[in-house]
């Protein structure tokens, strides 16, 4: 059984389009994250939600809007896509917003903006 899943795994789109990436975890975790991995493989936190409440927003352009319909899902919507948005986006989850638990990552979504 997949613990943290993301759809799609690959996304190719044109500049200016709006796209969404979905994340689901079946681990019963309370806290979910989005990380961005750029072309140099550098990973950086974007957002975190705990029980559907936003707790981290790391100076991400407001073209990026996370949405958590329930604690098992954290989707990422991106408006007006730019070339610089091309990256791999990872979803992750952890049991709760404590400081002791390991984060489990999804398989990543490779976004290519042409």
């Amino acid at each position: 059984d997949t613990a943290v899943s993301q759809t799609p795994k690959y996304l190719v789109t044109q500049m200016g389009n709006d796209k969404s990436i979905k994340c689901e975890q079946n681990l019963g975790h309370d806290t979910m994250y989005w990380y961005k991995q750029d072309s140099k493989k550098f990973l950086k936190i974007m957002f975190s939600y705990n029980n559907k409440e936003l707790i981290i927003n790391e100076t991400v352009p407001n073209r990026f809007s996370p949405k958590s319909p329930d604690k098992a899902h954290l989707n990422l919507h991106i408006n007006s896509l730019e070339l610089g948005d091309s990256a791999v986006y990872f979803c992750a989850s952890t049991p709760m917003a404590t400081l002791t638990d390991t984060q489990y990552f999804g398989p990543g979504t490779r976004l290519t903006v042409l």
């Binding site: 806290t31 550098f42 990973l43 950086k44 790391e58």
Partner: protein, 117 residues
Amino acid sequence: AQTVTQSQPEMSVQEAETVTLSCTYDTSESDYYLFWYKQPPSRQMILVIRQEAYKQQNATENRFSVNFQKAAKSFSLKISDSQLGDAAMYFCAYRSAHRGATNKLIFGTGTLLAVQP
């Protein structure tokens, strides 16, 4: 702000040999967690090992062990009896344990490990 530095962009090791990947970090906090994640070509991020800063004993997981030097702010990963499947990008990561801190991971830039048969 905390930072994590991996000074070795690439490393190579012969199969069955031992290799050590370096990681240093900067923080003013006394309580935190450190992690090594592995990212093979499949892109999946896999936890290799974790260390709690309050523990003096170095963490070990089978062929993987760490050398945690808190005073030096160093957290190296040793891979013994290297296998072809160990070839991957390895990321060192830091997470605060400070009350009120968020649970975000701060990553280093990664070390690409090649394993030669």
